[in-house]
């Protein structure tokens, strides 16, 4: 194997492909990145840890086709540190030699035949705009669980119905739901899958700038694949039956309030400074205003009054400040609508474009459970 490639191209490809490699793999070969130089002038880099696979394909001047397995971490570090000149990579016996300008590295190789074969990427189910997908992912993953003892909740429920994709995530304290349209390969496609939130966040971060992302999900399959700009990644789905969370959204609400998103974020951040761990920020909505308060008794206290419109009865409730700010931060509209049924029941957060707008955007909904007293 012998090929030449631009340093930036190599560094980007190796960095992305090796990004999920474990530092202490169960089997040494799993720390490797597989390099395959093909006669058609492509270099394919692959990694796989039996859960996540990554494969990127870049153009290279291939002198001798062939393959080699080297430490992904080391190759990534080396390629990022090389001078900005063409890089020549070749196999010399049991070593891989990397030459760039006056720099020369030799890397140990691992046996290619011991490397597991990557899962096949299923047929494309549909494609979606990278920007739209990235935004939708960032809006729902805020609500995904981080507790690895509840693996089900570390996933994002993805429901595909024709040209509509719905993403749902919850950590049991809040629930985020986002609907986004896409281009299905077949107009009647129906899929349901539970994808790790961190897999999706990684897709949003690393694949969304390529324009369009192809998504591959087989019915009742156990992996999901994403492909964009010569890079593809697969990931095992989270196993298990996701709870029927959609029904947690109230069918009707009796009171709603509309407040400037930016002002509420700023005020909530200020007031939350005195809210100690696990203590709430209290919101009291009445005609024309909302009062934000935190702290009680002998502790530090803060309050702030904001303009807000109210439709329905006055309502006071209390939220975890971070959960409130997470939801507000996910909105991309100038105004936020909070809809209530009861102070002790979850509130629905949606966005809207004007303070008196009767219509509010429903593609993104965030359900937030209040904090209550234990008694």
């Amino acid at each position: 194997m012998k090929f030449r490639v631009e340093r930036d191209v190599l560094a980007d490809a190796v960095t992305w492909t090796a990004r999920t490699l474990p530092s202490r793999p169960s089997v040494p070969v799993l720390a490797g990145v597989l390099l395959e130089a093909n006669t058609d002038g492509t270099l394919v880099l692959s990694t796989f840890d039996y859960e996540v696979s990554a494969r990127s394909s870049i153009a290279a001047e291939v002198d001798e086709p062939g393959s080699a397995l080297v430490s992904g971490r080391l190759l990534a570090e080396i390629s990022r540190a090389l001078p900005n000149k063409p890089v020549e990579v070749s196999v010399d016996g049991s070593k891989v030699v990397v030459v760039c300008g006056a720099s020369r590295f030799t890397l140990l190789t691992m046996p290619v035949e011991d490397y597991p074969s990557l899962p096949e990427l299923p047929d494309t189910t549909g494609s979606i705009s990278g920007d739209a997908f990235a935004q939708a992912i960032s809006q729902v993953t805020i609500a995904a669980g981080r507790d690895e003892t509840l693996p089900l909740l570390t996933g994002v429920r993805v429901e595909i119905e024709g040209d509509k994709v719905t993403l749902l995530a919850t950590d049991r304290y809040r629930l985020a739901m986002r609907e986004v349209s896409w281009t299905p390969a077949s107009p009647s496609v129906n899929r349901v899958a539970l994808i790790r939130a961190r897999t999706l966040s990684d897709v949003a971060k690393n694949l969304s700038n390529a324009g369009t992302i192809d998504v591959a999900l087989v019915e009742n399959g156990d992996i999901v694949g994403f492909e964009a700009g010569g890079r593809r990644t697969t990931s095992l789905l989270v196993d298990g039956e996701y709870p029927p969370v959609r029904r947690l959204f109230p069918e009707q609400t009796t009171t709603h309030t509309v407040t400037s998103t930016g002002e509420l974020v700023e005020a909530a951040k200020r007031v939350a400074l005195v809210a100690e761990r696990n203590t709430p920020i209290r919101l009291s909505f009445s005609e024309g205003q909302v009062v934000l308060e935190a702290g009680q008794g002998d502790d530090a206290q803060a309050s702030e009054v904001l303009e807000s419109t109210l439709v329905g009865e006055d309502i006071s409730t209390a939220f975890n400040p971070q959960y409130l700010l997470d939801g507000l931060g996910a909105l991309d509209t100038p105004f936020v609508r909070l809809s209530f049924t009861h102070a002790s029941k979850p509130a629905v957060m949606t966005g809207q474009d004007s303070i008196d707008g009767a219509d509010h955007a429903e593609e993104f909904r965030y359900l937030l459970m209040p904090i209550r007293f234990a008694s």
């Binding site: 049991r172 209390a318 459970m369 234990a374 008694s375």
Partner: protein, 415 residues
């Protein structure tokens, strides 16, 4: 019942000046046994032991039984061997609590400055009651008389200038006695006692002290503090030295916040089935939760205690996601802790559930869950509390606790 070393000679007249001795230690005599005798007067004068029927330990014994060498915490088998003629009665904790509450009510009428130490003893500071009722000794006599005539049980009372000496005095006054240690007699009283009478001096410390030929409180009081510190550590050495000279600055603290609430049980035969163990944990979780609710408390941490056949004892603990007073949530935590314990073939002889990190439910905030099952469970369990309060503890229980051995569904889960 107190098993601290006593010296019969110390139960004598130490003087009648109670002007500087406002601290009372009221300690019920053979309390559980005495309560049983209220309902079974025909057993009066006979040796009676309250405790587990088979493998448990002695919880309480009448003085007739103690005369045969029976004492609390003694394995029941040993107690039966020492006193085969004794009547053994299974404990009825609800009844003891009732009588205890009645005792505490009587004490509460004397002064609000009352610090219950356990179900059957309390400290009182009667400084503020002198004017209204009289000197401490008179107050102590009245308390003893009211408890005897109204409740048909017996309390011994120690009167002294400090909590420590008052407690020692009550233990020397027993049974059915009263001992006043005037302030100026405190040191002579203390110095007449064996060193094991000091708080915190158990067998190990006694053995350590014996190597320095310290056998009595007087010996200890005349040992340089530096020597004690070297032997026992700085804080323990200094504390014992102070106690030996009657220095005990701790005031009677009216409200003693409970630090933990727990229930444990030793089994007649070792349990080896997970489902049976789960049933026990569920029962104990319900008992703990009822006590939490009765005290308007919530807990944020659960631990279990498991003792194997070979007496190896493990505790495992975990924090709860949110503070709670719901048995179901305590049970879930306890069961997952038990799931992490490898049970040896001999099974377990003791299981216990304990709740700590307690806080007042009125001021504790909880991030509720969207699928919060707690609210309904709490309502259901509060309803159970109400039924039990009215019709007794056995009136109502969780369905899965009805049959013995417990029924369990396929996963060994109980609800």
């Amino acid at each position: 019942m107190s098993r601290g070393p006593r010296d019969a000679a110390a139960n004598r007249d130490w003087g009648g000046d109670d002007s500087s001795a406002p601290i009372l230690h009221v300690d019920m005599d053979a309390f559980f046994a005495a309560v049983e005798l209220i309902d079974r007067p025909e057993l009066r004068g006979r040796p009676v032991i309250v405790g587990g029927q088979h493998r448990g330990v002695v919880l309480s014994a009448t003085y007739e039984a103690r005369a045969s060498g029976v004492h609390s915490a003694m394995p029941m088998a040993q107690a039966r061997a020492l006193c085969p003629q004794a009547v053994v009665i299974a404990p009825e904790h609800g009844r003891y609590r009732e009588v205890s509450q009645a005792v505490m009510r009587i004490l509460g009428e004397v002064t609000p400055v009352i610090e219950p130490l356990s179900i059957d003893e309390a400290f009182l500071d009667v400084s503020g009651a002198r004017r209204r009722i009289g000197p401490p000794r008179l107050i102590a006599e009245q308390i003893r008389e009211r408890i005897r005539s109204e409740l048909e049980v017996v309390a011994s009372v120690g009167i002294a200038s400090t909590k420590f000496v008052a407690k020692l005095a009550s233990s020397h006054a027993k049974p059915d006695g009263l001992l006043l240690i005037p302030h100026e007699a405190s040191v002579s009283f203390l110095h007449s006692l064996p060193v094991g009478a000091l708080w915190g001096v158990g067998e190990r410390t006694q053995a350590n002290l014996a190597r320095l030929a310290i056998h009595t409180v007087a010996d200890l009081a005349h040992t340089p503090p530096a020597t004690l510190n070297r032997l026992l550590g700085n804080s323990a050495g200094q504390r014992l030295y102070d106690l030996a000279w009657g220095r005990d600055p701790r005031p009677v603290q009216p409200v003693r916040q409970e630090k933990s609430i727990g229930h444990e049980q030793t089994f007649a035969t070792n349990l080896s089935g997970r489902a049976e163990m789960a049933a026990v944990l569920l029962d104990q979780a319900h008992r703990c939760a009822a006590r939490l609710r009765a005290g308007d408390l919530v807990t944020a941490g659960v631990s279990i205690k498991v003792r194997f056949a070979d007496f190896t004892t493990l505790t495992r603990s975990r924090g709860l996601e949110a503070p709670t007073d719901v048995a179901h949530e305590l049970y879930q935590a306890a069961r997952s802790l038990l799931a992490g314990v490898d049970i040896p073939p001999g099974g377990v002889r003791l299981l216990g559930v304990r709740c700590d990190a307690l806080s007042d439910s009125a001021t504790t905030v909880v991030q509720a869950r969207l699928d919060d099952p707690g609210e309904e469970r709490r309502e259901a369990e509060r309803a159970m509390d109400a039924v039990r309060a009215r019709y007794g503890v056995n009136a109502l229980t969780a369905g899965s606790l009805l049959s013995v051995p417990a029924t369990a569904n396929r996963s060994g889960d109980l609800n």
